[in-house]
Symmetry: C2
Subunit: 360 residues, 2 copies
Amino acid sequence: MQRTRLDTDRIRAARRVIDPVFLGTPLYRCEALEPELGCAVSIKLETANPVRSFKGRGTELVASLLAEHGPRAVVCASAGNLGQALAWSGRGRGLDVTVVASRFATAAKLDRIRALGAGLELVDGDHELARERAADIARCEGIRLVEDSLDIETCEGAATIGLELVEAREQAEQTGPAGPPGPAEVAGPAEVAGPAELAGPVPPFDAVLIALGGGALATGVGHVLKDLAPGVEVICVQPLGAPALTRSWHERRVVTTDSTDTIADGVAGRRPIPAVLDDLLLVADDAVLVQEASIVAGMRLLLDHAGLVVEPSAALGIAAILEDRDRFAGRHVVTIVCGSNVDGDAYRRWVGAAAFPHRA
Amino acid sequence: MQRTRLDTDRIRAARRVIDPVFLGTPLYRCEALEPELGCAVSIKLETANPVRSFKGRGTELVASLLAEHGPRAVVCASAGNLGQALAWSGRGRGLDVTVVASRFATAAKLDRIRALGAGLELVDGDHELARERAADIARCEGIRLVEDSLDIETCEGAATIGLELVEAREQAEQTGPAGPPGPAEVAGPAEVAGPAELAGPVPPFDAVLIALGGGALATGVGHVLKDLAPGVEVICVQPLGAPALTRSWHERRVVTTDSTDTIADGVAGRRPIPAVLDDLLLVADDAVLVQEASIVAGMRLLLDHAGLVVEPSAALGIAAILEDRDRFAGRHVVTIVCGSNVDGDAYRRWVGAAAFPHRA
């Protein structure tokens, strides 16, 4: 593999800095999802931690470095999850954290950022305007700007997920699968993969579906997989309504868009970062776009068959399977459930019109 | 501590037998719950695994022993979670698993038991009748009967949760808390604990709330806590509608009831096991009963503020806090979220009348 900006040894070292509450997250097969999807599906769950997303892995690195020898003040632009994580990591180390977000950002995320004691500035525009404003604040006040996906620590933190995936896969190869699916398990709807695909022991996973936003998660996890488990297919998934980085990957040049239109707020960027695209071109095997209806269907499947409340970005992997069952039929796929911060009312609308009456 | 049936060294050894997918489960503070509850709350999440409950820890021990040197056939009575876990553990080891359950058991649990390839026999009565029938089957067919909470492996498996709690607590004592709650965080409703209780760093947990059913979870986790962290208060929580073991604990003798009336299907027993009561008397500091409305309120809080879908038994701890805020004000409490297997329609009714339209 050509060199990316990441280094596997640095990623291994990062694990010694990150609060263990963000590490060693659950990875488990969810057979109840499989009849609907026609393939073996394992979930890497990044929501069972104090900030309900994977972002803490990276902000722990950023905050630790600043606490050691950096400015005590830091600012970032965020759709909500990075800001929440940086507020959490900064609070524990006495840092002065400012988060800039769009006033259209998910309210629950903004509430948590405030609750964690960070300063929150809202801009009257989208995430790209928030990025500009955060850069201005950093410049004017001379404080550290944390740029998601560009700052190497945000990629290295996310990349520790890759180490956990590879280690689990190596263990599975040694010990063998934990048993074949029961016969009833593989009797899915006729139009999806039947018993043939899932009969017998299930091999270690051969594909990882990764939500594609700024690119930190995809380049980080992708780097580790290509370095340590090159046979595993790295597939990035982005909404059709926010396709800039996916289009850039396919055209091998930065493609921007004028606007975004998706419920997946966590991945709704318009201006890919050139250095991130360069890395993505080295580690991603494919980048696909999915429809909003598939994202909603994925959220419903994860709720009904896995008992998981997830934000739209975390359902992108399931959406990709739903849109191309043939590609994954009979395979063993890992999907990283990267966040669960949703607004109750919006979530209720998505998973079912009248779901959960509002309880203010 | 007087000797219970459990032994901490055996529990440590058990961890080497249990599939790692059930071990090292997430333990994290959920500050978004705290303004409502008036105390620091950490969640020990036992639902992010292939069977969505903690029962796999025990069935892994049972199935491993049988696979080594026991009969290849095994039967158990179950409200659904033990049967699902035994089916999973038995399938991977080529065991012939039969589960006996009440025909009134949670349909989703019965569906999973079938999907995992186990034989399922339904009895026209409650869990106690299922227990009788399972014993008859074992006697007639000469196969192994697994009795939840009586069979020491079921207690030892659950007890491994206690080891993880103690180890996390020791680590927290060494490294100190991961930062004080942000000021906004502690500004809860006026009637609950205010800033005073939660200001400043939060100490390691000083109480663990444990759902009380047959008693395996409470005696197992309780044994380890009393052995290794005796200062931690062990509080068992049972529904008012299924109070047999709690009443037995208070009266220090087995008390049975004629019926049960609770949505917490996982803990709805009527006939406590004497040996389990003996252990519970040694390791539990208290046993409390909670109302159905509090269980539902707990499920809603966990959904709305923690993004967790839980079954009623898993909300008992939060229900106990809601019913006695003063007792826990300003303290740091761990609640074990022990299962998430729910029927979609019933769950929607509980968390909000019109929640989620049915999607058959």
